[in-house]
Amino acid sequence: MSAVAFTGTSVMDVDAAKVRGAGSNVHFDKVSVAYGAHVVLHPLSLDIAPGEILAMIGPSGSGKTTALRAVAGFVRPASGRIRIGATDVTDLPPYERGLGMVVQNYALFPHMRVEDNVAFGLRAQGADKALVTERVKDALGTVGMSAYARRYPRELSGGQQQRVAIARALAVRPRVLLLDEPLSALDAQIRRNMVEEIARLHRSLPGLTILYVTHDQTEALTLADKIAIMRDGRVCSHGPTTELYRRPPNRFTAEFLGRANLLPVTIVEGVGSKGFATARHGDKMLTGAGRDEKTGAKSLLCIRPQHLSLTADSEHTNRIVGTLREVHWQGELTHLMLDVDGTPVRISATRLPMALPEPGATVPLFFTPADTSLVPEDAGV
């Protein structure tokens, strides 16, 4: 499989295009977007490093698509500047920004064959015929769609159409690839496969900078180097994916990025040299990983459902007790819904004891301090 090299240059710059790993960074400098008096994106300052995948996730209306459209040039910022590489693109029209974009409904041109769709951007930019042929071949090869070059979009499945849409965006060797909920229109099984394919694609094109907008946290967790979580037109948290998942800085992040059990606790002994604090939940003393929690502070102890266990071992030094309410079997996973002193708690497990307790039974739950994170209760979001 030949990979498409890409650069922060025009499609005509063949020599530069052969340089791998020369993607551009994207810099939001206090970018805000408003429709009349209604602010949909509050001043946003953010950097996406060259070759990085940044996933913007958040609920509908949180401003994530607006931020992407501002980069693409389809909405004009009310204030602030956007830079791609060394170029300030704020005032440039979309066709001069050197981007590639893939949208939710693919937007393949139905009157063009697959190869013409992929060639579209190159022809629009006046690339010569030989270059167009070479790039179309490369791009279709990259997404495994070479055999479908002569087909029309209507003759392809949803997943195939999305691959062609990606090939079309890659063929112009974009400075930045913008993916706007690219998998939302696919069914669950194909979506899972496509997430893996995009991950593979990025491994083969490590310099490609990607801004990936989605409301699906699984896609974000699988693909992104960094995640920005949006809420009400603001970034409520931003950081490396694993860090955000393991140490969510606020309640919204903990609950939006994966499932989280949040036990209200009071810090009885602040964070020590090993990074752990002691906290009280009801009459139980628990240990959790913290940042700079002070003694007496109210906090939330975040425990992911897969980190709770019904069985004790040497590492499971934390113990709480809950009342089993429901058991949901989902094939690969079984979910136990419990009540711990009025707080709903979920356990997700691949393996459970053969004899599960009946609903209504009191069940001890165990977890490791290293698998927890103390989340400030009054983080403002």
Binding site: M101, G121, A124, V172
Partner: protein, 265 residues
């Protein structure tokens, strides 16, 4: 399916056949029979003949067909270009302005065509806009009357067109003209063809305004039909009407084939 029972569907089909037969087929059948009637004094013609067709074809029919086709083609083309242009431009305006200008486009279609003809006659009877007695004023009259329909059709097509197509094209480096030619217009093709077909059919049948403004030597089919029937030559008028129907039908069927090819259906 709204009606499940077999008898209910049968009743509906009979009702539909009756309505269609009485409202659409009967008038056409009467005109067809009239165009072929030798004498018609009873319920049905006493004999059939093609003499009326020979008569109108050897007479003014040829030039009337030509005048109607040229007028219809040019006026519809002009209406298509301006209607598409207007629809594309108004799309970029604010909601209020777009609605206002959109409504203005439809005003001529709400005015009796005779009044439109009269208005043009008065407006273009004095220098520097002296068009009275020219073919151009016929074209303008038809253009004014049909442009609302092209605008309406193209606007409807644009409203259904996802902005994603054009935005993706722009992000790939397509400048506005390239995007318009290679993306927007091809995607609008079915609506453009439908708009042209509707405009052409309306133009072919237009009488009210044309009769007010037509110059000697540019007598369209409806004007010829009107003249013949006005003189009492009903059978020749019917024959000319059938020629008008056939010409319009052939063109519309041709356009439909083009649309089917463009959309791949």
């Amino acid at each position: 399916m709204l009606v499940w029972s077999r008898s209910g569907r049968l009743v509906l089909w009979v009702l539909f056949a009756l309505l269609f037969g009485v409202l659409f087929l009967a008038p056409l059948a009467v005109i067809l029979l009239s165009s072929l009637a030798d004498q018609w004094n009873g319920v049905l013609p006493s004999g059939l003949t093609t003499e009326h067709y020979s008569e109108v074809v050897s007479g003014a029919a040829g030039s009337a067909v030509k005048a109607s086709l040229i007028t219809g083609f040019l006026a519809s083309t002009l209406a298509l270009v301006s209607g598409t242009w207007a629809a594309l431009s108004l799309r970029l305006q604010g909601h209020a302005l777009r609605r206002l200008l959109g409504l203005l486009f439809f005003i001529p279609s709400a005015v009796p065509s005779v009044s439109v003809g009269l208005g043009l006659l008065v407006a273009f009877s004095h220098p520097p806009l002296l068009l009275n007695g020219t073919v151009a004023i016929v074209m303008i009259a038809h253009f004014v009357l049909i442009s609302a329909f092209t605008f309406g059709n193209v606007s409807a097509g644009l409203a259904r067109l996802s902005p994603d197509f054009e935005q993706v094209a722009s992000s790939l480096g397509a400048r506005p003209a390239y995007r318009l030619w290679h993306v927007t217009l091809p995607l609008l093709a079915p609506y453009l063809v439908a708009a042209f077909g509707l405009s052409f059919a309306l133009s072919m049948g237009e009488l009210g305004a044309t009769v007010m403004v037509y110059p000697p030597g540019w007598v369209t089919l409806p004007v010829s039909i009107f003249s013949l029937t006005d003189r009492g030559d009903i059978f020749a008028g019917a024959a000319l009407t059938m020629i008008l129907v056939a010409a319009t039908l052939i063109l519309l069927l041709g356009l439909e084939r083009i649309t089917a090819r463009a959309t791949g259906s």
